[in-house]
């Protein structure tokens, strides 16, 4: 279908279109026109990805000078693959319609583990091992040694790529990870380095968040991306946590021990090199005296994305004299390490700010702020000079050096918390130093600053205005789209009481209450009797789930439930969980019916979709607040209040509701799908909670579905399920929630579409 979006010709690879997709494209086009950032919320299962792709590709074709590149960031490898498949469909459609051969280059990028074709390296199991092994075969000095000594092993794929791969551009087309590997095998080139090189001139790049947000990786992969790119963060409801994680450092006793061995290795290597090849160290020394000028020039000419770990002052100055020679630097690291060890030897919790830490370190071991700031850069230079092959071994010392640089660079936005033991095991000493970032805007700032348009989109971004505040940027468009439906296929219900009128809630004071647990059990029991196929139930935490299931067992509720459906439980073990999931799907498939008990914020709630009969009902037991006693969280809340004027309670509720919405959204993955959404906690009925649910859920939440008892819930659910079980064909949707081109162009439809988007 060819669409006209405010004068832009957009090819849409399907014969029908949802009205909200059209509306979404309108907003997106306006964002691109304004060269600004946007926040867009559209329910899952309404074709966000294809709308995004077809509009931006059309924009790229129409204005090749305005938008040169699309960078699409997603969360997991399967999601990346899905995006590439949609893109392939779109490009095929283009080729068929215009008759011109496709001249676009689009590719997916993932880690070495997913892209390596070297027979030995690719058989390794862990990502870190693959990276380390790859580095030991492809580092420049290894290859130089290979020149003189052919028995030194190198990766022939990389050699081949390095020899010819850079001159010959990769032919235009759509490459997913397997395509890249095939291409690499055919040519004998390393697919990973090929992809990394090719993203510079590719039109569309699809990869994971971390390649752009994690400063350590972004510096390697994404720093040369053009300014005129459009960056899309899909499924971005958790983006603030990703940002925070990428800047936070956790140091345990084990890290320090490993770091100790690293330091010893460094020392030995230095003394060895000093005897054999002192010129090398002298050369490095000379370079350091001159300072990091090259990097500075590159940043000033705007070729590179700036790196939050590499502050500007560093680039303009030379490395301080006290850490210029290799021995002095190792001595410096040793002192720092011993200081950290001494700090970890405590018996009570310490929380302090970065300036306090710096002052203390100066008093204890005479380390100034300035050399600390250069630590990460200096270590990198040293490792390069010493030609240490296996970088993976040095992760501990690299982590420490990052910590040193961060703690001395940012006086605000970070906090240091040293805990002698975990909260759950107060008798076992397991000291951890959390250097935790409280300001997600620090990590994402270079991205907003550099790229012309950044689009943040997801199925659950409500309330919209909180994201610009915590990420500290000014969007030009903020919009939430609803789902147009031919039949109301989602049925949100808020259950507040049991049949005995006892309030149902996971509030801390009453969560151990016998009546509450029994009522929760009764709810699940009743639902298991009337809902066909699969039910997914979410609890607020693993511990809570364990407690409840244990007492259900004692009360005999589990036994009764098992007469209706099989029960599967998500655990913290990933393998066990995926096994449970597989069996759950099998039970749904063959008609036995099953219940999956899982946890909000767990693996199931984030990445697994329960289409059609895999999830006919989702029950959310309680409000999934984070563990509020955690000191890291407390510090972050305080920071939010002081810096962004967001109250603790607002943020906690926002966070709980986005996870609740994420959980219940698992069941509805499209317009032909249907499902019950049961919120089992009386607190959901309050306006401040209800108002924070996404608009597409709120719309269907009438007064009649608030604060129900279990009996009433069963009545409503029965009615809903009976209605939904009627046959439903595409013709029923046409004209209402599914449009042909003619229908789309009609006057009153356009008017209706204008109402779909709600500007925040």
């Amino acid at each position: 279908m060819k669409l006209n979006i405010e004068g832009l010709l957009v090819y849409f690879p399907y014969d029908y279109i949802y009205p909200e997709q059209y509306s979404y494209m309108l907003e997106l086009k306006r964002t691109l026109d304004a060269k600004g950032h946007g926040v867009l919320e559209m329910p899952s299962g309404t074709g966000k990805t294809i709308s995004l792709l077809s509009l931006i590709v059309a924009y790229q074709k129409a204005y090749p000078l305005e938008v040169t590149k699309l960078v699409y960031c997603s969360r997991t490898v399967p999601e990346i693959e899905k995006v590439v498949e949609e893109l392939r469909k779109l490009m095929d459609y283009y080729a068929k319609q215009t008759g011109v051969k496709n001249d676009f280059l689009a590719l997916a990028l993932s880690s070495r583990k997913n892209l390596c074709i070297h027979p030995e390296v690719s058989s390794l199991r862990f990502g870190k091992e693959v990276d380390g092994k790859c580095h030991s075969l492809t580092a420049s000095y290894i290859r130089a040694q290979h020149q003189s000594n052919p028995s030194q092993p190198v990766c022939q794929f990389f050699e081949e790529f390095d020899a010819v791969g850079r001159q010959v551009p990769i032919p235009p087309g759509i490459y997913n990870l397997d395509d890249l590997k095939d291409f690499g095998r055919r040519k004998g080139w390393c697919p990973y380095f090929l992809a990394r090189y090719a993203i510079l001139h590719a039109n569309i790049v699809v990869y994971s968040y971390h390649y752009l947000l994690d400063p350590k990786i972004a510096d390697l992969v994404s720093k040369e991306l053009a300014k005129k790119s459009v960056v899309v963060f899909d499924e971005a409801h958790n983006i603030d946590n990703v940002c925070i994680d990428s800047m936070s450092v956790n140091i345990t006793r084990r890290t320090l021990d490993r770091c100790q061995t690293n330091v010893e290795t460094l020392q030995n290597t230095i003394s060895r090199i000093k005897e054999t090849d002192a010129a090398k160290l002298r050369e490095e020394y000379r370079r350091l005296v001159e300072g990091l000028k090259e990097a500075n020039v590159a940043r000033e000419t705007d070729i590179y994305l700036s790196n939050p770990v590499l502050p500007d002052e560093i680039l303009q100055e030379a490395v301080p004299g006290s850490i210029r020679t290799a021995e002095h630097f190792v001595g410096f690291i040793k002192r720092f390490l011993e200081y950290l060890k001494a700090r970890l030897r405590i018996h009570h919790v310490v929380q302090e700010s970065a300036p306090q830490f710096l002052k203390d370190i100066y008093e204890k071991v005479c380390i100034d702020r300035k050399p600390l700031r250069f630590c990460a850069e200096r270590l990198r230079s040293l490792l390069r000079t010493l030609e240490i092959a296996d970088i993976a071994d040095f992760s501990a010392i690299t982590l420490i050096s990052h910590f040193a640089t961060l703690v001395s660079t940012y006086s605000k936005g970070f906090t240091i918390i040293i805990e002698p033991f975990e909260d759950r095991t107060p008798t076992i000493a397991n000291p951890v130093l959390h250097f935790s970032c409280m300001d997600p805007s620090i990590a994402i700032k270079p991205v907003f600053g550099r790229f012309q348009s950044v689009i943040i989109t997801s199925g659950t971004l409500s309330p919209l205005d909180i994201y610009p505040r915590i990420l500290d940027f000014h969007p030009v468009t903020m919009a939430s789209f609803t789902m147009t439906l031919a039949r109301t296929c989602l049925c949100p219900l808020i259950v507040g009481r049991g049949n005995d009128q006892v309030a149902m809630t996971s509030k801390f004071e009453t969560r151990e209450d016998f009546a509450v647990i029994r009522n929760y059990g009764n709810l699940l029991l009743e639902m298991s009797a009337i809902v066909p196929d699969g039910i997914v139930a979410f609890f607020t935490s693993y511990i809570y789930m364990e407690n409840i299931v244990a007492s259900w067992y004692e009360q005999g509720i589990l036994e009764n439930i098992q007469r209706n459906k099989l029960i599967f439980i998500e655990t913290q073990d990933a393998a066990e969980t995926s096994m449970a999931l597989e069996k759950y799907q099998e039970a749904c498939e063959n008609g036995r019916g099953a219940i999956l008990l899982s946890v909000a914020r767990g693996k199931v709630s984030e990445g697994i979709d329960f289409v059609h009969h895999f999830g006919r009902a989702v029950i959310m037991f309680g409000v999934p607040y984070v563990y509020t006693q955690s000191r890291i969280l407390k510090a972050r809340l305080e920071y939010l209040r002081d810096q962004f004027q967001i109250r603790e309670n607002d943020f906690l509720t926002f966070d709980a509701m986005r996870h609740a919405a994420q959980c219940v959204g698992r069941a509805i993955r499209g317009k032909t799908d249907y499902g019950l959404m049961i919120f089992a906690d009386k607190r959901y009925a309050r306006a401040d909670k209800r108002g924070k649910l996404p608009r597409w859920i709120q719309e269907h939440l009438t007064d009649g579905s608030l604060n129900l008892t279990i009996d009433e819930t069963v009545q409503l659910a029965k009615h809903f399920l009976r209605q939904m079980a009627q046959p439903f064909r595409r013709e029923d949707q046409l004209g209402l929630s599914l449009l042909t081109l003619e229908q789309l162009q009609s006057e009153d439809m356009l008017q209706k579409i204008a109402q779909i988007a709600q500007q925040a």
């Binding site: 005296v289 004299g321 020679t325 001595g331 011993e338 200081y339 060890k341 100034d368």
Partner: protein
């Protein structure tokens, strides 16, 4: 860390958790009881390296590696003498060279390389730079100062926050109490039905909440003078180190226009150029404008580049 122990009596931290290890200038450890026993007289030799030691110099070992304790000790001593600051040097390069030199000295002393010579160098330095050392003793480095400032700021902010929340809570409590009292009074005297009154009360309560919210956002701390100097900060009046460089000398601008000479601004009227431009109105002149200005610029434009170069 449990396998740390005294080299003499072989007690370890594991067996005796209250074991206290001590270090002296040579960097070798002894436990407290051994120190008491061996150094009854106040001095003696190190068990491991035979360095003569004094009992009073024994310190509790802070770090796992006693060498670090030794190094820090030496470093503190060296830094007392080598206390030049960045602004004592004319260029950053010199300062960095100086820092490296200091580092070399510390390195040599801790690893027992050329101890005698290094000590000589230090003494020499101390003699040469007596004044500066004395002067810098009290001064902090620039970074140290910055840190102090940040800490102070932090303290003030937290103090302020505490006060604010306290006040806020009290104010809220009062307002709520007042509101409640008002409701009770109204219920007592008013003739309206109770339901209406209750609804009104609810509205008022909501308004109150929003008001409180707004107030919260408006409060701004005022601990900085308009000049940007922190309140309560002491300003140092120490002389600024002299920077030697060539002073700037003004050289009049000389432009080659490649054209006939342009008449001066005050000659324009005499030469009759002003007859051809609009005379300035009184309003224009009030702002300092005169018709000569525009005319002069137009002539400059017209004349420049007339001669081929």
């Amino acid at each position: 860390m449990d396998d740390q122990g005294c080299p003499r009596c072989k007690t370890t931290k594991y067996r005796n958790p209250s074991l206290k290890l001590m270090v002296n200038v040579c960097g070798h450890t002894l436990c407290e009881s051994c120190v008491e026993m061996l150094f009854v007289r106040g001095s003696g030799n190190c068990v491991q390296c035979n360095t003569p030691l004094r009992k009073s110099n024994f310190r509790v070992q802070l770090f796992e590696d006693p060498a670090i304790d030794k190094e820090v000790e030496i470093r503190k001593k060296v830094l007392k003498i080598y206390n030049k600051r960045e602004f004592d040097f004319s260029s950053l390069k010199e300062y960095n060279d100086y820092l490296e030199q200091v580092e070399d000295i510390v390195f040599n002393l801790t690893n027992n390389i050329d101890v005698e010579r290094t000590k000589q160098i230090m003494e020499q330095y101390q003699r040469d730079n007596k004044d500066i050392i004395q002067k810098n003793k009290a001064k902090l480095t620039r970074e140290q100062e910055e840190l102090e400032e940040l800490l102070l700021q932090e303290q003030q902010v937290s103090e302020q926050r505490r006060l604010e929340t306290l006040q806020e809570e009290q104010r809220q409590l009062q307002a709520k109490r007042k509101n409640k009292q008002a409701l009770l009074d109204e219920l007592e005297i008013s003739k309206l039905p109770a339901a209406v009154l209750l609804a009104q009360h609810k509205d008022r309560a909501v308004q109150l909440e929003t008001q409180i919210e707004k107030q919260k956002q408006n409060v701004k701390p005022a601990n900085i003078f308009s000049t940007g100097i922190m309140m309560g900060q002491t300003v140092s009046f120490a002389s600024v180190s002299r920077v030697e460089e060539v002073l700037y000398v003004y050289q009049p601008l000389c432009i080659d226009t490649y054209g006939p000479p342009v008449p001066e601004l005050d000659q324009l009227g005499r030469l009759g150029y002003l007859n051809h431009v609009r005379t300035a109105s009184p309003q224009d002149q009030a702002g300092g404008y005169s018709s000569g200005l525009a005319c002069h610029r137009a002539i400059q434009d017209a004349f420049s580049g007339l001669f081929p170069s």
